[in-house]
Amino acid sequence: MNALKTTWRLATVSIWFAVSVCAAENTEQPHEPLSADTLRILSNIDRRASERTEADKRAADSLNRDGERAYRKGNYRAARTAFSNSYPNFPTAFAYIMTGDSHWRAALQIARSHAASSAMGTNGSRACVMSNEHFPHDLLMDLDQHHEVGLALAAKANGGKLPSEPLVQRASAEAACLRNLGTRYETQPATACVDMDALAACLGAPLLQ
């Protein structure tokens, strides 16, 4: 138990002070301390670890495979549904990271599809497809419960250091960029229109090719 706690603290500390590079702006910035939501979820995962069974793992694996299939086809909404039902069965860094990533790719995909089909305004501009009313709250809370949990689990499994796997590194950069974006929009009025190009730049190319 003590060893587990030590490993866990190492992972937390490591994540806290990890330096991530924002894909969109290419600026270095320190990672934020883990939020109360992230810490609560990680604590629950630890607490229930001994109760997990092989059947739980099989259920999660099956949903991850469904998620991967949907993701590779560009059906991000279906991918999100599958990944997000995987981790309650058996929590993995992969399912948490892919849930967060799929969510915002789906949001972008749907917003762009609406933008493409919406009529031009009289001044030649298109209607706003995503307002700022809920965006910063949604984005920051989602990062805390998905990307950050996934990254912390990945670090924990790697002795407290974020693994060098491309998917994890990409997800870490994506999370930092998205957090910047969310924080920036927190200072904007609710009526502001979210810049979909900025969201797209944070996400970059799909994590699974």
Partner: protein, 251 residues
């Protein structure tokens, strides 16, 4: 038992005839289901296992060689001939029928609650558009949407049919709720709501993709019974769903 004469020989033969037309066939209903909410019966022609929801009407033939054959009279497997062992037929089929009118299900929109914590999903904070469902004297809390940013939206106010469930929904999507509520059962019964591509459901869980999602895991069995025990005259739906009020967060 029906009888006839073979034209070529003139011999008189006895035959059960086509299943369900024999005089000994009796109307029965699926009166007991597994904890997933379904009765598994066998299609003898394909050896496939076919799942039937509770109160499915069937026309049952007398037992033969330890098995009981029956023809499904409603639902996704209408007209299909299935069988059960004699012992299982005695246990799972019975005389209690569904009420031959749709149940009335009333949803009234309530507050939009940010950061609703789901213990069953490991302490996940969820932004819920809450509502209350009233059905058959029961009142339970539901969420009408939990996944935002254009992915899903709450159901618009109006009147909808709640359809008879067709197949067991994947257990992987709800099995983990039993860890926090061991009394949860029938969680693989998802009732489609007739709207668009019918991908919205009345179901149990903590996350709604624009569905009517019953949050009180322990009371799902009661909601399930209130719905599944009813049939519309055409046998296709189980309830009329009325959605009233306005979601505080519409998208």
């Amino acid at each position: 038992m029906p009888q006839g004469r073979v034209p070529a020989t003139g011999a008189i033969v006895h035959t059960a005839g086509a299943l369900g037309t024999g005089q000994d066939a009796s109307v029965q209903y699926v009166n007991l289901v597994g904890t997933d909410g379904w009765l598994q019966a066998q299609d003898d022609a394909t050896m496939q296992r076919i799942a039937l929801p509770k109160y499915t009407k069937v026309l049952v033939s007398p037992p033969h060689l330890g098995r009981v054959k029956f023809r499904v009279q409603e639902g996704a497997h209408l007209g299909r001939t299935l069988s059960l062992s004699e012992a299982n037929a005695r246990m799972y089929l019975g005389s209690k029928s569904s009420v031959q009118q749709p149940a009335r299900m009333m949803v009234t929109y309530g507050r939009y609650v940010e950061r609703w914590i789901s213990e069953a999903r490991g302490g996940q904070p969820i932004d819920q558009q809450m509502a209350t469902v009233a059905i058959n004297g029961l009142t339970v809390a539901v969420t009408m949407n939990s996944v935002w940013n254009g992915l899903f939206t709450p159901l618009e106010p109006g009147e909808y049919k709640v359809l008879l469930p067709d197949v067991p929904h994947r257990g992987n999507m709800t099995r983990f709720y039993r860890d926090t509520e061991p009394r949860l059962q029938f969680d693989q019964v998802w009732f489609p709501i007739q709207h668009g591509d019918n991908s919205r459901y009345v179901h149990v869980g903590n996350v709604s993709d624009g569905c009517v999602t019953v949050l009180d895991l322990a009371r799902w069995a009661d909601v399930h019974e209130a719905l599944i025990s009813h049939r519309s005259p055409d046998g296709r739906s189980v309830a009329t769903l009325t959605v009233r009020g306005t979601p505080e967060r519409p998208r």
